[in-house]
Symmetry: C2
Subunit: 266 residues, 2 copies
């Protein structure tokens, strides 16, 4: 097995890449998959892991390579929305045979792939999660799925997104059809008023109103609201689900942390 | 003339209301319009100027009152998206004869009015702008339009929004048809990566791509990006307009400041 790693958003630190090889080697020994870390991961151009074109080219190169079995997005941050239109139209049928995994800002790319029906897509930890306490367990959880990208027989349709990212792709060609899906959302570092506003947005979209229900992942590092927002993220999620006629299905085990679970789409 | 003032988002300080009466009295003397400041403006419920229902009720009460000639939204902040669905369906034909003015978070309400073709709508300074240096000139600029809510003969169709607010109503029933409009956007307090992301979002929407062109207002109080974003807000606006095939028409004289011009919609 050969796992391709590219960075559609921000750059990957070299030390994290080295740590990844070490963790995977220790976990799998002689059976370890080969990690093909594209040199683009280490480029730097302002906020991004190289120019938009370089990030798109690296993704297309690995996605269209028949000797690569799956694509693991290196990390989030910001920037995938800048390369997705440059990349998706160039994918061949080879790209459709692969699995793709990431989360957070990588959701722009995963949404576009899923909207076009390309490959098998999952939300889950990325190599950069090695920087968290317990990150080795998190990345091995994702790698396990990439090596066997299935979902349980008969499981409900599902998808998972960062709330802000989902909000900011609504009404664009990247918005996937989530009819009948359990939609899981999570967020990090957003004020309560912004979480509330994004939940207004997402639950007001006619396409999103076709979901089977919404599950709220963790909303971490919420800055202090002035004045106090009073409502919690779960109260806000219940409010907007009630207003929209969307079933609120409770908490999801996803978030910007080491416990972040793998959620295969579909 | 009787101008109704309500607060769909955050509360108005009593001192600002008093200052408004004083400024208007000094400017218009015996010809001063009557300012009907709804007591709801001074309510407080967490982040908001009273509960969602109270903000909706006050707006509906004044909008449906045939003895009120125009509605001036008191201030922004956050919260109009929480009351707009509770208010718009209850408006009568009386509300259609009025002018409505505000900006920033009030854009959720203005968008919904414009999308439904209710009344004459304009972006412009609000009573709360009195807290700015030169704010008296700003609020009198808006009041002048409210007393005579027209636009120049033969002027191009136009609309103006806070960029983040416009982004967060895309793909909802609040999104107005802006085909053939000059679209002006401004923002405040957003990181460059967020301005870039919102511009991706707005310019990727098929409806927005029907505008006659985009003009960039002021983007003020941009926090420092780490790493440096390199690109300026105008470079980013040009980038996304070019990508979307939208004409970039230069800078607009709008923003979160005392120079903020009145932009009648349509």
């Amino acid at each position: 097995m050969r796992i391709g790693i590219v960075a559609p958003s921000c750059r990957l630190e070299e030390s994290v890449a080295a740590q990844l090889s070490s963790v995977v080697g220790a976990a799998y020994g002689a059976d370890a998959p080969e990690l093909v870390i594209h040199p683009q991961c280490f480029l730097s151009a302002g906020h991004f892991a190289g120019p938009d074109s370089a990030r798109a080219d690296a993704f297309v190169e690995l996605a269209n390579d028949p000797d690569i079995d799956a694509i693991w997005l290196a990390r989030g941050g910001y920037g995938a929305c800048r390369m997705v239109d440059l990349a998706l139209p160039r994918l061949t049928s080879v790209a459709g045979d692969k699995a793709y995994l990431g989360y957070s800002d990588a959701g722009f790319l995963l949404a576009g792939l899923y909207a076009r029906g390309i490959g098998r897509v999952a939300h889950g930890p990325m190599p950069s999660d090695l920087k968290r306490a317990g990150g080795d367990i998190a990345v091995l959880r994702s790698l396990s799925w990439l090596l066997n990208p299935t979902k349980p027989e008969g499981a409900a349709k599902q998808a998972a997104f960062n709330l802000t990212v989902l909000s900011q792709l609504l009404g664009t060609p990247l918005q996937p059809d989530l009819t009948g899906h359990v939609l899981m959302i999570e967020d990090v570092g957003e004020y309560m008023y912004r979480l509330d506003r994004s939940l207004f947005h997402v639950t007001s979209n006619p396409g999103i109103r076709q979901v089977a229900g919404l599950m709220l992942g963790r909303c971490s590092d919420i800055p202090e609201n002035d004045p106090d927002f009073v409502l919690t993220e779960e109260e806000v999620a219940r409010h907007w689900c009630g207003h929209a006629g969307i079933a609120y299905l409770g908490r999801a085990n996803i978030g910007h942390d080491a416990d972040n679970q793998v959620v295969p789409f579909g």
